[in-house]
């Protein structure tokens, strides 16, 4: 069985500076795969390239049997790859419901959309309570919920989450992580980028450690969680 997402020797550059220097990894259907690493390791760049916002200078991306390299961003979504960007990037002056509807922009099945909106409200009840409110007025954690709910609206085969816990209070962070566990349980395939390595590794099937543009270390989440080096560098233990 081939993997849902296959990344081979991917290279991305900002001008002349290469930010991602030839990484390879894959994501199997139903898995949660996580990329961890410090700031500037190239995790976000990788995700932005996968979703078509950046163009790679080399390498190959295969998603669901198709090559993504020449496909514009808005068509990648249609193939079933959703991306919840770093910093959430909800549309601040649209209401919550409008944000969710935009998540389903490419879908035409009105009844299905309504159903999925309600599902998002079930997942995040607070969104349902404020559905007519401008999204910019939500708190950081609520915005993250909205961003995740919005990404799910396209019924993705693969959900990419970029730093979902960034800047959140511990309680909110736990909530978000619990949601990811719940999504995993529902069978959603997830590619997770996190700085909070502890949380990410503990729920990941596969994990990769990135350092200045390359993958340093790969393994199952549990393996890495117990790896000496990882513990030292990313989990803050001496």
């Amino acid at each position: 069985m081939t993997a849902l997402l296959e990344v081979e020797d991917l290279r991305v550059a900002y001008g002349k500076i290469e930010a991602v220097k030839g990484i390879s990894f894959s994501v199997e259907a139903g898995q949660v795969v996580t990329l961890i690493g410090t700031n500037g390791a190239g995790k976000t760049t990788t995700l932005r390239t996968l979703s078509g916002l950046l163009k790679p200078i080399g390498g190959r991306v295969r998603f669901d049997g198709k090559v993504l390299t020449r496909v514009p961003a808005h068509k990648i979504v249609a193939l079933g790859l959703a991306h919840s960007p770093e910093g959430r990037h909800i549309f601040p002056r649209l209401t919550i419901e409008e944000n969710l509807k935009l998540g389903a922009y490419l879908r035409k099945d009105t009844t299905g959309i309504t159903k999925d909106i309600n599902r998002a409200y079930d997942l995040f009840p607070i969104l349902g309570e404020r559905r007519k409110q401008a999204a910019g007025t939500l708190s950081g954690g609520e915005q993250q919920m909205l961003a995740m709910g919005r990404a799910l609206m396209s019924q993705p085969k693969l959900l990419m989450l970029d730093e979902p816990s960034m800047g959140l209070s511990p309680i909110m962070m736990q909530k978000i992580m619990a949601t990811i566990v719940e999504l995993k349980a529902q069978g959603t395939t997830i590619l997770l980028v996190e700085q909070n390595a502890q949380a990410a590794l503990s729920l990941a099937d596969q994990a990769h450690v990135m350092e200045i543009g390359t993958i340093k270390l790969s393994g199952t989440g549990q393996d890495l969680l117990h790896d000496e080096g990882v513990r030292k560098t990313y989990l803050g233990e001496d």
Binding site: G15, L53, K55, R70
Partner: protein, 629 residues
């Protein structure tokens, strides 16, 4: 969503993985010797053709009927062909001529051949079009036509350094539906293949030459430049001028591809003081080189417009602020100078300031207006400055028109303006009179040209000093990234205000001379756009065409924009239309201007830099740099 070009994409990726796009190869597959022979033969035929008669009648400008020696446009072909031939010989390794292509690339030969082809074919086609049909061509015309073609074809068969945007088998996303027409795709691919590459020239260091030889070269080049300039100005007909432009523009491009310009740059940089002195002397020599008031007038006008453009360059090029009403500051300076000039139409007709005082007054007034306009708006986003300056540019004209004592206080004499501005007199030297200097005579406009030259030099000094200073670096920082600059402790508002006020003062300074040269100031010329400078759109175009942030760029841009329309009289009523189209095309194909500021060039072409990169996605993919910002 099934129409994604997946297969081709895979290939494209595979192709880049294996090899880059740069290559040195001929377009027309021919053995090297044959290609060289063809090139030289083409040059010889073309040279020979210029000694023949090209047409039967003398109706065509320059009289091309004479056999035996070339005339009119034939000279352009001749110069082009000789240059191509000589440079080709040098490139092929003929000792003694090698210095003509220090970089040893054949690209220079190709471009010079293109210059020859361009001017020759232009002439032949122009003859046929003007006189009605190919029947008007003498055999010489046909020989020239074919000779230039042979020359060009030969050059195409030489190994050329190329850098196609995409690998040979790339698929063109932007062609979309045209993919059905294979000819279109192939033509497009061929054009992309034809992208020459010579941005990273390796040339022998010219600084190893003997120091005196270096200086001699500089003097010769400047003298040659002056000669070429005056030759172009002296062309009688638009047709000849077009031929001249083709040879000059493409020829210079060719020489730069060969590396000569780069070597010359090394020389001037190595001998900075010397070369700027020679430059100034050449500029001083201009009115002496010809005894023609019209050209002196032209020179003075170009210097005025060029100096104002240089002032605008501080605002636009260095600081990145959009000023769409810059001409108003020129107007403020001109009106101030007119008021204190002693003109009988001034409200202070008794007051006659000496020139230095008038110049200071003009600068000061323009500076005050700059601060008045800048202070409320420079705190806001850049676009607000654009609209406010545009508005100010427009209402400046309205206000000076209103201040006539009827619809406003009496200051500017309203629509009649301030006339009969007396000529300047500096240290007893009346600029209005004709003076004899040795065996030369300097007329009124030559005098003003020289005065203006002094002012231009001052402005150039101010510009370079400012650009290299702490504040100059702050300007550039603001231009590049205002948020980051502010974070680094630069007081964005104050720095921008200084740039704005300085730019305004320089325009005011030029305005003081402008008022005296034209003898009068009236409100009408100070418009946003018009066929004649000064107007704000023209000034902006001069800055952008010449090269933002550079010293010589705006002056060169102003000169070209000023002189070319004067010479191309056939454009007449289509001049503004052509100007508009030219602006669009320049922005599309060379947004960094003729003389690119190195930093700027990177910025404009960054999407092309990722070196062995293909352009993998559609147009709507944001290049990494912008997206990441």
């Amino acid at each position: 969503m099934t129409d994604l070009p997946i297969a081709a994409a895979e290939e494209a990726v595979a192709a880049t993985a294996t090899h880059g796009n740069r290559r040195t190869a001929p377009f027309i597959p021919l053995p090297l010797t044959a290609a060289r022979a063809t090139t030289l033969a083409g040059a010889v035929i073309t040279i020979a053709s210029t000694f023949m008669s090209w047409t039967y009648t003398t109706d065509f400008p320059g009289d091309l009927t004479v056999s035996g020696y070339p005339g009119g446009l034939q000279i352009m072909t001749l110069i082009g062909a000789i240059l191509t031939g000589v440079v080709a010989l040098g490139t092929f390794g003929l000792t003694g001529l090698r210095w003509l292509t220090p970089s040893r690339t054949n690209n220079g030969v190709l471009l010079l051949a293109l210059a020859t082809l361009g001017t020759t074919w232009y002439t032949v086609i122009d003859i046929a079009a003007k006189l009605g049909g190919l029947a008007n061509l003498d055999p010489g015309g046909f020989v020239a036509f074919i000779g230039a073609l042979v020359l060009f074809a030969g050059a195409l068969a030489l190994p050329l350094d190329r850098h196609p945007e995409e690998p040979a088998d790339a698929e063109y996303y932007e062609l979309g539906r045209a993919e059905g027409i294979s000819a279109v795709v192939r033509g497009y691919a061929w054009l992309r293949e034809a992208r020459l590459h010579h941005s990273e020239l390796r040339v022998p260091d010219a600084r190893k030459l003997n120091r005196w030889l270096q200086r001699l070269v500089i003097v010769v080049v400047y003298a040659l430049g002056l000669k070429i300039l005056t030759f172009g100005l002296a062309t009688d007909y638009s047709d000849i001028f077009i031929g001249y432009l083709i040879v000059l523009a493409v020829g210079v491009w060719g020489l730069s591809a060969g590396g000569l310009l780069k070597q010359f740059q090394q020389l001037t940089q190595h001998n900075k003081k010397f070369s700027s002195t020679v430059g100034v002397l050449t500029a001083i020599a201009y009115p002496f080189a010809q005894n023609n008031e019209l050209w002196a007038n032209l020179g003075a006008s170009v210097l005025i417009v060029g100096t104002v453009a240089l002032g605008l360059n501080i605002v636009v090029g260095l600081t990145g602020l959009l000023d769409l009403g810059y001409v108003a500051f020129l107007g403020v300076g001109a009106y101030t100078a007119a008021l204190v000039s002693g003109s009988p139409f001034s409200i202070w007709s008794g007051t006659q300031f000496p020139f230095w005082a008038a110049a200071l007054a003009g600068m000061g007034a323009a500076c005050v207006f700059g601060v008045l306009i800048g202070a409320p708006t420079l705190r806001l986003r850049g676009d607000y400055l654009a609209i406010v300056t545009l508005g100010f540019g427009e209402i400046f004209r309205i206000i000076v028109r209103n201040l006539d004592g009827v619809s406003g206080p009496k200051v500017t004499n309203g629509p009649n303006g301030i006339a009969q501005i007396p000529d300047l007199s500096i240290f007893g030297y009346n600029l209005g009179d004709t003076h004899s200097v040795g065996s030369f005579t300097l007329g009124r406009f030559a005098n003003y040209y020289l005065l203006m030259l002094v002012i231009t030099i001052i402005v150039v000094l101010v510009f370079t000093r400012a650009a290299d200073s702490r504040i100059g670096r702050s300007w550039i920082a603001i231009r590049e990234d205002e948020t980051a600059a502010t974070a680094m402790g630069i007081n964005g508002f104050r720095v921008k205000l200084v740039a704005f006020a300085l730019g305004a003062s320089l325009a005011g300074l030029a305005g003081t001379v402008f008022a005296h040269v034209t003898n009068s100031v009236v409100p009408d010329p100070y418009v946003f756009s018009g066929s004649v400078p000064p107007n704000s759109a023209f000034l902006l175009a001069a800055v952008v065409l010449g090269g933002m942030g550079t010293v010589s760029g705006p002056i060169l841009g102003a000169a070209l924009l000023y002189v070319i329309p004067q010479k191309l009289s056939f454009l007449s009523q289509y001049e503004l239309f052509a100007f508009g189209i030219a602006l669009i095309l320049i922005m599309r194909f060379r947004p960094e201007g003729i003389i690119p500021n190195r930093r700027r060039q990177l910025e404009f072409h960054e999407d092309e830099t990722p070196a062995p990169g293909n352009r993998p996605m559609g147009d709507d993919t944001v290049p990494a740099t912008t997206a990441g910002a």
